[in-house]
Amino acid sequence: MKAITWQGKEDVRVENVPDPSIVNPKDCIIRVTSTAICGSDLHLYAGRIPAMQPGDVLGHEFMGEVVEVGSAVEHTRVGDRVVIPFTIACGNCFFCQKDLTSLCDNTNPDAAKLEKMYGYAGSGLFGYSHLYGGYAGGQAEYVRVPFADVGPLKVPEGMSDEQALFLSDIFPTGYMAADNCDIQEGDTVAVWGCGPVGQFAIWSAVKLGAGQVIAIDRFPERLRLASTHDRVKTLNYENVDVFETLKHLTGGRGPDACIDAVGSEAHGTSLDHWYDLVANKLMLETDRGHVLRQVIRSCRKGGTVSMPGVYGGFLDKVPIGAAFGKGLQFRMGQTHVHRYLPKLLSHIQDGEIDPTYLITHRMDLADAPEMYRTFQDKQDECVKVVLTTQSLSRKSSDVTNTAATLNA
């Protein structure tokens, strides 16, 4: 089959790789119909996540049709249209039973490696390095999906791929970011980063009762997209002093909750950002903390810092004293996707949200290499790229036919 493979820093390619098949009794095989590129994929693209190997199949946001099920699969059936959570969960362990599915004990074959770094290891993830299991990802024609009765969510009839696809990651991720803020009616929530995750966090914060949401980014098209919701103000951090403006907009108190939807590849213009660039090069830190520092400083006393943005290693010059002195609380982590699926699916079904508003690029899977570049550089007002496989499967059958003809 055709798949998008990681070959090295800023080098992804369409390659022929072996088709997956059932390995464990609770597996199923999905024929992918739609898949997306995520901000998290950009960390891999930029070569910032260790333990990638050339040839690894990328992608963790995907959906499709079940084409095969293992012998112990009871509910998921061949022919089902399903969307797949990017975190792989067993459903039975201590963490799964507490709805902390991204912390599942039983799905990460690389757990021992990750434990060396983190003490304890999170769940396996699709297409996300050999620290998270080395599972082949969803930017491919077919994917082996473990625990077919736990993860895959059946897509209701009449719901399009584009409407359902973001349930795999970014919609639940944005929602959990807001949920983690314990929003009280009327609260002010500031959101750093108006990428897809930030956009869903903004929608969710409004939905959960925020009286004012302040969206921060530098790309006008992303700020514009954020401002389409009621109760949202936008800040371009290149034009204003973020701390002072937030202070002003909250009557001198600071936002009740601050969401870092940027993560470790924060862009910045201030001195601390240049410090990060140097420290990264010198291996003094692995992540860039510009946004997190600003978040900690800006948040009101006793407020909540919610971090959907990904951090992988070490961060230097984190103002822990400010966090302590202001009694902040921190919530973070990979999304417990499974927990939010029923609720968010019904929000889509009820027409409360049409997640397709984020899609700026509809392309073919084979265009992925070019689209990684476009999305990374935020060219062409790119917000979210969706890739479909229809024409690709046609092309690959053409290839097989040609091969057959040549052989004949």
Partner: protein, 253 residues
Amino acid sequence: METYSTSAPRYDELRDASSCNSSTGCRNVGHNEQLGSILAGGGLLAYGLMPNAKLRLVSLLAGASLIYRGVSGQCELYKRMGIDTTAEQTPGVDHGRGRKVVSAVHINRDPRDLYGLWRNLQNLPNVMSHLESVTPLDDQRSRWVAKGPLGQSLQWDAEIISDQPGQLLAWQSLPGADVDNAGSVRFEQPSSGEGTVLRVTIKYDPPGGWPVAKLANLLGQGLQQEVDEDLRRFKQLMETGETATAAINGAQR
């Protein structure tokens, strides 16, 4: 049993229990045999220390043991490892002898289910990756075969020395073992009341003295990792019915 190489003595010859004495020790290995032991032992150790060595534990154990025999000219008579079932924390092993590895894991299953699996000793090779087979000889005794590093097998007979259904199972090797060892597994109820904390203790008796103390440390790390990984897989199997793999097809697994 097969020999390691043409110059090396047969493993069972090296371990002739009748010719040495437990407390004093005695030169009971001839000079050629000594050299052979060192060479063979060194080979095994080198193999065992390779990053991808399969059966690291067994290679290191056997290697260290052979070198010791070679250097000291003694065959360490293994002492039976006493089992103290009254000690709360680490039952099944004697203090002050050998090396000990302890590993614990929480498993979301009833202690009785887990006990049942361990009590059927022939299941153990499915849990412990270095075991080839465990064959019950009678209700208490069983024959254990571990996969050796160079295709040979290491073998011992063991007896169950404590058996409290749903709570504790302990065993030890009998005289004549290729590697002296003892082990216990305790099935504890966690404070939350849910599931079982499985606590495994394995003790093995590497020969003492130089250069073995250092090696034994390495060896201990190898065994610790192996037991940790074995328990992780066991937990996966017990909680989900399968073990995690990113393989995309059966051949890759």
